[in-house]
Amino acid sequence: MSIVSNLRADPKRELWFAWYSTVAFYSLYSVVFFGLTRTQPPGKPWLEPEQTVEWFAGRQDGLLVGFALIFVLGGWSATAIALIAYSIRRMSVSRAFAYSYLVLYLIAAVPGFLFICVAMTVGAMRPERSPEAQQWLYDLGFLSFSGTMGVFLVGSLIWMTAILLDKNRVFPRWFGYLNLCNALTEVVIAPSWIFQRGVLAWDGVIAWWIDVAVFGTYTGVFIYLLREVIVRDDFGRGPLPDAPPGRPRRWHPLAKVVR
């Protein structure tokens, strides 16, 4: 199933477009944040104002170019949300779940990338700005990005509830519970508003490293599962059929346990 053939003739081309876009956008996002701007892993919260000036200066080009790319392409993130909202629509639960998810995550774009793009761009564009102002922008960027996890918390709970109540078997039930794990990690990030040092600061072992490991796993899993949903989808209303026979069955860690 090549990408091009999917996007031209396939009756599921809208879904494949959304799925490939999801993969592409998350890849771009990771490259920009981890590679280009080097804002992940995040800078240290306890930096003095002068040190934040150095931090901005050392990353100036990366910050400006990287976040410009997100400024242009950030809207592409809507494809992931749309696809997930569709998967929730495909369930037997009320449409309210799908709409809730859609609205929550469109709001999530604001702390999810808009604020950090603005704060870091403004911080990098005038290196001669006063150190206190630079530190303020540094805080604004990182705290708005890491600390505002309430949206994702509630969103995960909505998806979890929808999955657990669903009779159309769109997602396996263990993924519903994985949403609970993800929701709990969003709780863990909250103390980053309180601590400048230690494991619960925005760069801490618990609040960042373990959190990102869980979130990364969760994201990888749902991207894989969304693909399965698209393959199985029959555009109907009832339970989703199993994957068509003859497809090479990829290794699945719970293939024997979860029927």
Binding site: E14, V65, A68, W76, A78
Partner: protein
């Protein structure tokens, strides 16, 4: 498999009211745009803190009132954008995914304008504060306003794709609307890079990032309003019942 559950909204049911609100919204937006002394001509990123502070000092009232107006009405475009999303129900799509994409970006787009007005208003709030701080808020406002194009680019791109995928005898929007959206998306892209340079055509006061960007947005509003009106005219009226176009399936058409 395809139950005919189609609840395509009929143009008679209040949609014309929303459509006719558009000229009023446009007038208010243009008034706010022209009233704001920092737009015509656009403020320079190269201005020093003192120059920026002086600007706010001299133009306090105009900044405040124009931005308050802008703030009130930047969300006024949402009903129009939702009208476009409603038209998408009539497209020959198998799923509502593209419509959800449009709703996603349409909902987020006004937040950009809203945030930038907040920063401008804060900049104008205390004329006696340090010029450094006023410069900071001014920078935040301009970067948010100019570079904050992701949702608009997304909107144009998703609309263009949705139209391209609308393969039926009488598509909801004609092909040229798709190409138009592609052109507008391309016109908006450079503005995202405005933070990279304080001078030249790509700076936030430059030809490309300011004039081309804002004209593109204005043009999009006008052209899409016309296209929207035509699409609504093409749809069956309330007395003729639902359109029953066989190319449409129900999941794409209903919520």
């Amino acid at each position: 498999m395809a139950e005919l559950d189609g609840e395509v909204a009929r143009p008679g049911s209040g949609e014309r009211v929303i459509l006719w609100s558009l000229p009023a919204v446009v007038v208010i937006w243009m008034a706010a745009f022209l009233l704001f002394p920092g737009f015509v001509p656009p403020m320079s990123p190269r201005a020093s803190a003192t120059e920026v502070a002086d600007f706010y000092d001299e133009n306090l009232s105009r900044v405040r009132y124009s931005m308050i107006l802008f703030n009130w009405f930047c969300v006024a475009f949402i009903p129009i954008l939702m009208l476009i999303a409603e038209r998408m129900r009539g497209m020959a799509h198998r799923t509502p995914v593209l419509r959800y994409c449009v709703i996603g970006v349409a909902g987020a787009a006004p937040i950009v304008f809203l945030t930038s007005t907040v920063f401008w208003l804060i900049a104008a709030f205390r004329p006696d504060r340090s010029p450094e701080l006023t410069l900071l808020y001014n920078d935040l406002a301009w970067i948010t306003f100019t570079c904050g194009v992701p949702f608009l680019v997304g909107l144009c791109a998703f609309l263009a794709l949705a139209i391209a995928y609308d393969a039926q005898e009488r598509p909801v929007f004609p092909r040229w609307v798709a190409w138009f959206n592609v052109v507008i998306a391309v016109a908006l892209v450079p503005a995202g890079f405005a933070g990279l340079t304080p001078s030249g055509p790509f700076a936030w006061d430059g030809l490309v990032s300011f004039w081309v960007r804002n004209s593109a947005i204005g043009l999009w509003i006008v052209v899409m309003a016309v296209a929207l009106r035509q699409a609504m005219d093409r749809e069956p009226g309330p007395d003729r019942g639902s359109s029953g176009d066989p190319a449409r399936t129900e999941i794409g058409a209903e919520a």
